[in-house]
């Protein structure tokens, strides 16, 4: 069997990811955040960040996991989102990385349920874990790698209509 008509919207995975990326881009001091982390947000950046692109955020949606499949009508999913926060190099890198992390937390605090144009896309956002990494070569770089789960509900295998 095939669908009776083509999709009329973007799939929910794309809509959620786009909404999350758009939200990260609002992390600017003009919006009462501590850093300008939203100045350089890259979804799935294939190459390395240049120093001119710092502070920078690289964000990836790495997978979807069903939480409970016992109710075949409406299934909650966890959409794993990984966020790499990389400040400018130097002795203050780790301090700046923590500020970028705090800004990410603030963004999620005010946007736990993602909505676009009045449409609620997700149920909530959960914090999984994070890891601070540093590397010293000619410059010292630090970064914090954060894992979040965005919870959304879908009907059966419907990839287009969120069930908030």
């Amino acid at each position: 069997m095939n669908p009776t008509s083509p999709p009329t919207t973007e799939n929910i995975r794309q809509r959620v990811f786009d909404a999350f990326v758009a939200g990260l881009r609002t992390i600017r001091t003009a919006n009462n955040y501590e850093t300008e982390a939203g100045a350089n947000v890259f979804p799935w950046k294939p190459d390395a960040l240049a120093t001119t692109q710092l502070p920078g955020i690289v964000v990836r949606d790495t997978g979807m996991n069903p939480m409970d499949t016992s109710n075949g009508v409406c299934v909650p999913y966890k959409m794993r989102i990984e966020v790499a926060l990389v400040p400018v190099s130097g002795g203050e890198s780790t301090t700046q990385a923590r500020k970028m992390w705090a800004d990410l937390m603030t963004f999620v605090q005010f946007n736990r349920r993602l909505s676009v144009g009045g449409d609620r896309l997700t149920v909530t956002t959960e914090y999984v874990d994070d890891e601070m990494r540093v590397d010293q070569k000619s410059q010292f770089f630090a970064g914090i790698f954060v894992r979040l789960d965005v919870v959304l509900k879908l009907k059966g295998f419907d990839a287009y209509a969120p069930q908030p």
């Binding site: 390395a48 960040l49 990389v86 540093v134 590397d135 000619s138």
Partner: protein, 107 residues
Amino acid sequence: MSILAEAEADVATILDPSTGFGVVALYTPASGSPETEVNVTFTKAYVSQDVGADVEGEMAQCAFRTSDIPAAAQGDRFRIKGTSYLIVDPEVNGLEVTVCTLTEGDL
């Protein structure tokens, strides 16, 4: 000429700014003195640094005859081509050449 003598002569040629790849660097120990001019080879290769995302970085290194600076240590400095570098990791290889990883910042 022995093999070791030949190797030492080759190193001297390579380090010589007029005949090889060397540049003149100003060495300053962590104590601040004495400052010494020494011939070094200097490279600054691209390296990708992974801090959760890859970042374009550089691996600055210099090499010199160990006999020129026998006690090079972490925290000593080089001034090379107008830029000050801190020695991060000095290593002596089998040819009596010391190779130092350098950083532009402070440790």
